[in-house]
Every structure is written in C-alpha cells, then in structure tokens.
Symmetry: C2
Subunit: 382 residues, 2 copies
C-alpha cells in the first residue's frame, strides 16, 4: 500500500444555512478543497452522508454531487455510517489512493438537516429500529443512559459534563466556521433546559447544515500540490453491539476502543504520541467516554479532563480545538471530514488562535449512532 | 494490488418475503456465503443498501448487520448508489482485499421493500430531487422517456421491448431463487397493464425483498477455501449527468459505457471475450440500452438481441441467465451482488439448467437510478 497525504481542504460554515441546499453545500466545500490543492481533476470521489433520503428526499447523491461539481463521469460513491459517515468516507478515500486505484481522490461529507424533516426521528434511524427506536428512544435518551451508567460506575457529576461544553464553546469561539461563537459558563450549561436527564440543552450538539472536503494523493506526489502535506499515517475501524442493552458495559464505547487500538497498531503509535485530537462529542458524555476509549484518559477518569484543563488548548492533549460537534456544529455526514480538516490545519500550523504549538501528530475519532461504529485516523506533519 | 477471488456465495430467495425482516434477510445470505466458503471470520464487511432509512426506518445498518451475524467488532461499511449499491459494495470489497487492508471480506447487498413504505416515492429519491422528482416524475416515467428516445432514434418497437421480458422470464423459470417462474409470451407482455407508455407491467422489474453475499479473498489464498475460485479480473465505475434532461442523448447510458470502457481497460479484455453477462434490466428498455453501452451490440442494435436469440441461453452472448431483475426480482441494494453470484455460479459450472457451456469469462453491469451511476465487473474462471 502507498502512503497517502491530504493536500487540500475546504468546508462551509456550519450552522442553519437556509440559503444553501444539499448540493450547494457540497459544491462550496468541494470547490474550496480543489482550489486549495490546485487540483483540476479527480480520479475518485467518496461522499459521506447519513440520510439525504430522509432529510431532503435525495438518495443516490454521489453521482449528483459529481455532476453539480462539473465532474460528471468520475467514479463517485456515497457511504453511510450514521454520524460516522464522514470518517467512513475518509477511510475509503485512503484505501483508494493507498491501493493505487486512484491518484487524486476527494473525500467529502455533507448533510442538510434544516429543510423541514423531523430531525429527531431521522437521527433515531441510526439506532436499532426493532429493539430501541420502536420503543420510543431517541439519541438524547440513549446518551443520557450512557451518562447515567458512567455516573453510577465512576461518580461522574453534572458539573463534569458541563465543563466539557464550557471547553467546547471556548474553542469554538475562535473558529470562524463554527455554528456558535459564544462562550458559556458552567452555570449556564447546568441551568439550560433539560433535554434528557442528565443532559441539558448546552450538553447536546446542535442541528446543522454543512459540508467538508479534502483532497488525497499519494504522499510521494504530494509536493506537486502543496509544500505542507499532511500524511494519513493509518486508520482503524470497528463496530460493536448496536443496541445499548446488548453491550458489555453501557458506560464504555467498545467500537471506539477497538478502532483506536487498530489505528495505533497500524501506525505503531500510542496515545502519548498524539499532540491534538478531535473526538466525537455529540453529547458531553460522549467526549468523556471517547477520550477514555482512545486512551487519553484511564477508564473512569475522562470526567476530570475538561475541568482540569488537560483537554483544553494549552493542556496536555488538546481535544476538539475546532469547538467540536457541540460548538462547531454537527451536520452529521460532514463531521468526520471536518474533524480531519481541523487536524490538517493544526498540523500545518494554520489554526490561528486555536493553534496547538508544535503539533506534529493528530488523531480524529468519529462514531455513528450511540457508538456502534467508529473510525479512528492518525495524521502527521510531513 | 493483489489479485482477488470470490470463494463463496449465498443468497435468499427473491420475492415478497413477508416472514423476513431486513436483518433476517442479510443474515440468511451471509451465513450461506460463510458456510459455502468455509470461512469462520471476516476482516471487513461492505453492505450495499439503497434505503433502509426510508423503507424500514433503519440507517446505520452495517454495524447492525455485523452484530446480528454474531460478528460485532469487525469493520463494516454501508454503501449506497441507489440500485447500484450492491455493485458499489463489490468494488469496495475488491479494493479492500486488493489493497491488503483485508484478507477475508464479505460483500453483501440487502433490501426490504415490502414493509409498508411507499415504494415508488422511495425509489424516486434516486432521481434528481430538485430537477426531476419535484415535478412529479417516477422511475417508470424516466425509463419510459428513455424508451421513447430509443424508439425515435433507432426505430425500436413495443415488440422489441416485449421480447426482452419473454427471454427474462424464460431464464427465470429455471432459477429456484427467482421471484417469478412463469414463462410469458410476447402477447401477454404487450397486453399487460400499461405502467408508463410504452412500458407495460411485464416490462418493469418487481418490488422485492432479498439479500445476497459473497466472500472475497486474495487469489493466492483462494484454494484454502474452494477448489473453484472465480477471479475478479477488474472493475470500472462511472457517473453521468443525473437528470435525464441534462444528458447528451437520453437514449444512451454514458455512465454504463464509461464504466465498461474502464473495466475493459483494467482487464485488457473486450466485449467479444465475454461468455456470459448480467446487465441491469430494471425495465425492458434498460437491458437494450445496457447491452449497447457495454458493447455486446452496436448503438441502436440492442433492440434485436432478445428477439434474435443472441442474448438468450444458447445464443452468442447469453444475458441475464438468472432471469435478470425482471424475473429473478430486484431488491434494489442486493441486485448488484446477486448479479455477481450468477456469474460466480456460471463460471464454476454450477448453474444447472441455465448453464452456459464452457463459460470462462463473465461480466456484470449494475446501475443506479436512471443510469447516472454504474459499475462493471469482469470475472474469470481460474
């Protein structure tokens, strides 16, 4: 397999983008990615999207996106793994270039969530339809149960959860493309509307529109496109039991742990080698469970990370410097690709106020549903 | 890239399978495929599915399928390209094994269409939502327009269309897993209910449930699993303008032609080298346009192929010996994989009454929507 690098990136602002359709969002991000890489053609295209069908009545969207980009003809494939669709697309783009199937591939993620669909019901189709959704559960409810399990097992508190959002909003306040730029306090988070006990409104990621795209080429051709390529060192992917009730431990995310283990094995790296990371904080409890699963904190100790500053800018391992899904926004199919863009910018030293000084190695962790699928990618500065 | 072989296959009967859910269908096909290959583990899983979200309220179905197969933990990815979802999944499984990412991969396709969803409206989401569907078009209507364009340009007749269905039903009558086993006459086809002029009911593929799965391994390890592996020689994938109105010629399927051209280039083969083929006959006109696009007939001459017997069993190039989508059934996400299974069985000499004598090289052509995405795979006996 060939080494693979990211040589360009583009993304829309994330938010309620009433003026842009699904295809508009994709094209905006894709054109910016092509321009930034100076690429004038594509050999292959992967589009991560959770539910164009349910959100806007559009399946079969990979050829449509290629067409609207003015590139009808190229191979184009849509990939879905709920909120991990972007991460799954990135893995396929990596495989396409690594295998030699293509020399210039685009990986994009896109979701249009604010077009009138019943978002909570659409998102619920990422859970087990027969064993969970049918009985009325929604995603805030599923993550509330994960939070309750974590609280019962490790003594995690409401305040621990709130600190995660405080940190996310602090980081997001420095990201021009984030949905929210307002800092919040622990008191504001804790006193915001209860969505699913113990998760408050400010501990839940928002409903967002947005798209993100990156250009992948073989590492040995990367300097044709940019003097600052970022290498994809390796990827791990895993699944777990789908229904929460079928899991070994509802407080643990086994698919995330396994995906991370595979990514570390593929790269020969360990958690201590990572300088900056984006993890899947769809709810505050998710960031806590994810940093434990990828090995930044020991089991049960993720609860202290935001409060202590360990995962904040300037801390030992800054997590979600982009603002994360909470503050940057969470157009579900795009999030996995947007995570890669934050790491791409960090490793190129382009993150501005959010820059992690001297960042050499970065990690992204993206997951679907209540964590039954997960992707972990590891990147390094070349 | 490594050479890749199929070493096992499994599929459900296709039809209105009221007793089986989406997950049941997948597991039945997957277990049969694993058993037939004697494989006890998987390194990777790709699931082609067009619209679990709209048909049965289930997105995020790759981890769910891995879980229900008793293999939670493995990497699992769902791929969607409308009715070409199965073919797109096959390409990814091929890439996974060819690249060295995995040594044992399953490629499956599954669709549950008879669970109460408004099938015509769900299928319509494979067309251009803004420029076609919004204005009321459905798939029978789109293919009727393709048929009218073909008729106007080449003099194709209602009887030419009918002969395609007569052939399909003849082949399907010999396939135990087909949805329909009844032979039909030209008169019956032509006098059946008009669906979208000029396409009659017996010229439209049915609404079906079903699943199909194959096991892929590196060719040099294939003999561990079977003494009759079938090599995947190569694959071509392409897209075209999505909306019919945006195409160079509505009577031609440019994505199919381009995908075939790429598959021939990848393998060094030509249409004359193919002994047996499955093409995407979602409507009778589709088979005619597809055999032209893949080069079995010259432009405008596909209309004569079924009537002359050229594409029937015993003819120069037997097409859709399985019965095709028309007679075997068309659970949309499964069809691309089921096509590969027919060729797998033909090249192993296991097709029974439908056997093409001495078949050495086979081709599958799968497409999405009105043809904006297409996959062509070429296979050979080892």
């Amino acid at each position: 397999m060939r080494d693979v690098a990211i040589v360009g990136a583009g993304m829309t602002r994330f938010g309620e983008l009433w003026e842009s359709s699904l295809r508009d969002l994709f094209v905006e991000a894709a054109v910016e990615a092509l321009t930034s890489a100076g690429a004038d053609h594509l050999d292959d295209l992967y589009v991560g999207n959770m539910s164009g069908g349910q959100f806007v009545g559009q399946e079969h969207l990979a050829p449509l996106m290629a067409d609207h980009l003015g590139m009808a003809g190229i191979p184009a494939t849509r990939v879905e793994s709920a909120c991990a669709s972007g991460g799954a697309a990135l893995r396929l783009g990596y495989m396409s270039v690594a295998s030699g199937m293509s020399d210039v591939a685009m990986v994009a993620g896109v979701e249009k969530m604010t077009d009138g669909a019943d978002v909570t019901n659409v998102l619920a189709t990422a859970a087990d339809q027969e064993n969970e959704v049918y009985h009325g559960i929604t995603f805030p409810g599923l993550y509330a149960m994960i939070a309750r399990a974590h609280m019962a097992k490790y003594g995690t508190t409401d305040e621990d959860l709130a600190w995660v959002s405080v940190k996310s909003h602090h980081h997001g306040s420095m990201n021009a493309k984030a949905q929210f730029h307002r800092e919040v306090t622990v008191e504001e988070v804790m006193s915001s509307t209860m969505v699913a006990d113990p998760l408050t409104l400010l501990e839940c990621s928002p409903v967002s529109d947005g798209a993100a795209a990156v250009i992948l080429v073989p590492l040995d051709q990367a300097k044709k496109y940019t003097d600052r390529p970022v290498r994809i060192r390796g990827v791990g992917q895993a699944t777990s039991a789908m229904a929460l009730a079928d899991r070994r431990d509802p407080a643990a995310l086994d698919a995330v742990a396994k995906a991370a283990e595979r990514a570390y094995k593929a790269t020969g790296l360990a958690p201590k080698d990572i300088d900056v990371a984006e993890v899947h904080d769809c709810f505050a409890i998710a960031e806590i469970a994810c940093i434990e699963a990828v090995g930044f904190a020991c089991e049960g100790e993720g609860k202290d990370a935001a409060r202590s500053g360990m995962t904040a800018l300037g801390g030992k391992i800054p997590v979600n410097t982009s603002g994360g899904l909470k503050s940057k926004g969470h157009p579900v199919g795009a999030s996995g690709v947007a995570q890669a863009i934050e790491i791409f910018e960090q490793l190129r030293g382009e993150a501005g106020e959010r820059q992690v000084e001297g960042a050499h190695t970065g990690l992204t962790q993206n997951m679907g549903g209540s964590g039954a699928s997960s992707l972990v990618h590891i990147f390094e500065r070349v």
